[in-house]
Amino acid sequence: MNLLYSEVEDDLRAAVREVLADHCPPGAVLGRVEGGEPYDPALWRVLAADLGLAGLLVPEPLGGQGASAREVAVVLEELGGAVAPVPFLGSAVLATSALLGCDTEDAGVAGLLGRLAAGAETAALAVPLSTAPGSGFPAGVRADAAGRLSGTVTSVADASAAGVLVVPATGPGGPGLYEVAAADAEVAPFVSLDLTRPLADVRLEGAPGRLLPSGDAAAALDAALLTGAGLLASEQLGVAQWCLDETVRYLGQRHQFGRVVGGFQSLKHRLADLWLEVVSARAAARAAADALASAGTAAGVEVRVAQAYLSGVAVRAAEEGVQLHGGIGMTWEHPLHLYLKRAKADEIALGTPGRHRAALGDLVDLPAAGH
């Protein structure tokens, strides 16, 4: 297990960070989130197409970078650290992972992956963002023999930025993943707690879908959710690290009572404790990414551990950040609240810490009471 960052990963981080610094300073994000277009299409174009991040997980023969979960994790750390309003998690992680679990020899699957990898298309996986791996195949959408889909999926991440929806639905042949043009669905964004990752309810009323060939659609979906959960930990790490850094920076320059506020011992100790948690969190997030890269769906323990731990760290870091900033941390004009809202939504996303702990009990032979 390699918990370090490779040189290639360091270079990737630097490249992403540079783009984000140019296109996506916190003030710009704040200005965007209330506008009509919460996503930043220009930024997404640079990241997805120019840097090729949308195709990191896609094999080179299919037009992608042939990279692994380790590199995707580094990107998510940076995106989390910038609360960047781009559909990377929904499209390049969740939808792409689901497609990679289908038959990539199939021209339709391969073609879609190629368009996603090139940044020419953006997709979303039509499940509620709160869905944990291991939840079972969702029952909300049915497909008829003609491939027409009907049903509702609530709280889909990045759906409003997607041209294509990958929809789990139960058809005549059982569970399947279907490609549906977003234009054929009713995608209704709602007001989300997380201002920088908009959610939408998706309603399908006989929408034409194309069944994506796969050996086991339920397994493909679950693998995508597991990958998503494991990599979300790196996004949470990025959120936590930004909150820690920004709070240390702010307290290192603010004076009260003639002293630098960051010199007050109780605050120092709280920040030291938070730093300690972030250190453990980084190791756990790296372990999950490395395990996903090397072991795929056998990375259950690492993913569950990372999710069970990182959710709490990100929320705590953001909450401590708000508290230690004092009044300014409660204002809309300071970007901290964007991180607080992201951290709190991420706690629910792809399974709460408690759900992941419960799942871990089965994986490591620590059975529940009565079992």
């Binding site: 959610l199 929320v315 409660m330």
Partner: protein, 399 residues
């Protein structure tokens, strides 16, 4: 005071209230006219002096008067709307104001004709209020004020403000402050809504640019503003109500309701955490109830100084749990539109709002960090922090 005298006082007050009610029957009188009459009868705040809305009676007898008027259906002065005037400005004006100031300000303050706000906190002076930078420079018989204040509730409705400003930067920070009454209609006063992380703007920023305040609106001596402000802040403490809090009141109520109504949300893990929070809510309630009982028998203890800390922590933990419990639903938010709420409403809105708004509970009105210092020093008797800023001229402090 002996029981007998007190009885006599009560009777006299009831009689006076009935006289006002007879002269100004509530149903046929404008509210403001009625309230002025009540003030002039000395029944506004009975412990204030005669002529200033009171009768020099014991403060405890106010309840007798209030009950009499309430029973008769008389209008009140909407105390929540004018809370800063009643709770902070009025006691300070009473203690430090000149007779002219008292006569000018107290009556319309009490009747609600003039709303007051408080211009104390600044962006750079939060916990360290005495570090404030707003300057007041004397120009003959007026003072010219420049600076910025923040977290000012009611500023957008206020006619007057109590204001502290620096009048001497050459002396240590606590010594160079002077206390003023500021006219909020002065053209140099600009009030801007201060939006919070909930989306709402409960408070304001107030920019003061060349605001001219007559010296006659100074409260207390030049340079004595810190002492005057202490009197104001002493009155900020949240009072413990007269009735017991109900079990499962407060934020735990909506969590418990969600648990009962929505079995699909339940997991063993959440169950134990919910019960842990229920226990914390209950012991915090019991702690507050114990303080209330202590006050009721006239034996206040130090426990009251911990209540704000305890409730802030409880509200934050419970609301954070609620968002998590709701799961997918917790990802939604009601509305980010910037509005001007009349009050904080923890109960009519969604869990996300409660979660975000409760974050302010440990900051507003004294941060939890400052309150822990106070408990450690005043209750436990531990030493104060080493201070390096007490004997240095304000202008020489690091900032």
């Amino acid at each position: 005071m002996p029981q007998e005298e007190s009885r006599a006082g009560e009777e006299e007050l009831r009689r006076r209230a009935r006289d006002v009610l007879a002269a100004y029957p509530p149903e046929g009188t404008e509210d403001v006219e009625f309230l002025r009459a009540r003030f002039d009868a000395g029944l506004a705040w009975v412990h204030f002096p005669e002529g200033l809305g009171g009768l020099g009676a014991p403060r405890s007898l106010q309840a007798v008067v209030d009950a009499e008027f309430t029973a008769a259906g008389a209008p009140d002065n909407d105390p929540r709307r004018i809370g800063i005037g009643l709770g902070m400005a009025a006691p300070t004006i009473l203690r430090y104001g000149t007779p002219e100031q008292q006569r000018r300000f107290l009556r319309p303050l009490w009747t609600g004709e003039e709303v007051w706000c408080q211009l104390f906190s600044e962006p750079g002076a939060g916990s360290d209020l005495a570090g404030l930078r707003t300057r007041a420079v004397r120009d003959g018989e007026t003072w010219v004020v420049d600076g910025q204040k923040v977290w000012t509730s009611s500023a957008h409705n206020a006619r007057w403000a109590i204001l502290i400003a620096r009048t001497d930067a050459e002396v240590p920070k606590h010594q160079g402050i002077t206390y003023f009454v500021c006219d909020m209609t002065d053209p140099g006063v600009e009030v801007r809504p201060l939006r919070q992380i909930t989306g709402e703007a409960e408070f304001n920023e107030v920019f003061l640019t060349g605001v001219r305040i007559p010296d006659a609106h100074r409260l207390g001596a030049v340079g004595d503003g810190w002492r005057v402000a202490q009197a104001t802040l002493m009155n900020e403490r949240v009072a413990i109500g007269g009735t017991a809090l109900p079990r499962e009141g407060g934020m735990i109520a909506s969590v418990a309701a969600a648990w009962r109504e929505r079995p699909e949300l339940r997991t063993p893990e959440l169950h134990d955490r919910l019960l842990g929070l229920w226990v914390e809510a209950e012991v915090t309630r019991l702690g507050a109830e114990r303080v209330r009982q202590q006050l009721a028998v006239g034996a206040p203890g130090p426990e009251g100084s911990g209540l704000k800390l305890a409730f802030a922590r409880l509200n934050q933990r419970v609301s954070g749990f609620e968002v998590e419990l709701l799961g997918e639903e917790g990802l939604r938010y009601g509305d980010w539109t910037m509005v001007r709420p009349e009050k904080v409403d923890f109960y009519g809105r969604d869990a996300g709002y409660r979660y975000l708004r409760a974050k302010g509970n440990s900051i507003e009105g004294g941060t939890s960090e400052i309150l822990r210092n106070i408990v450690a020093e005043r209750v436990l008797g531990l030493p104060a922090e080493p201070r390096t800023d007490k004997d240095v001229a304000w202008k020489d402090l690091p900032r």
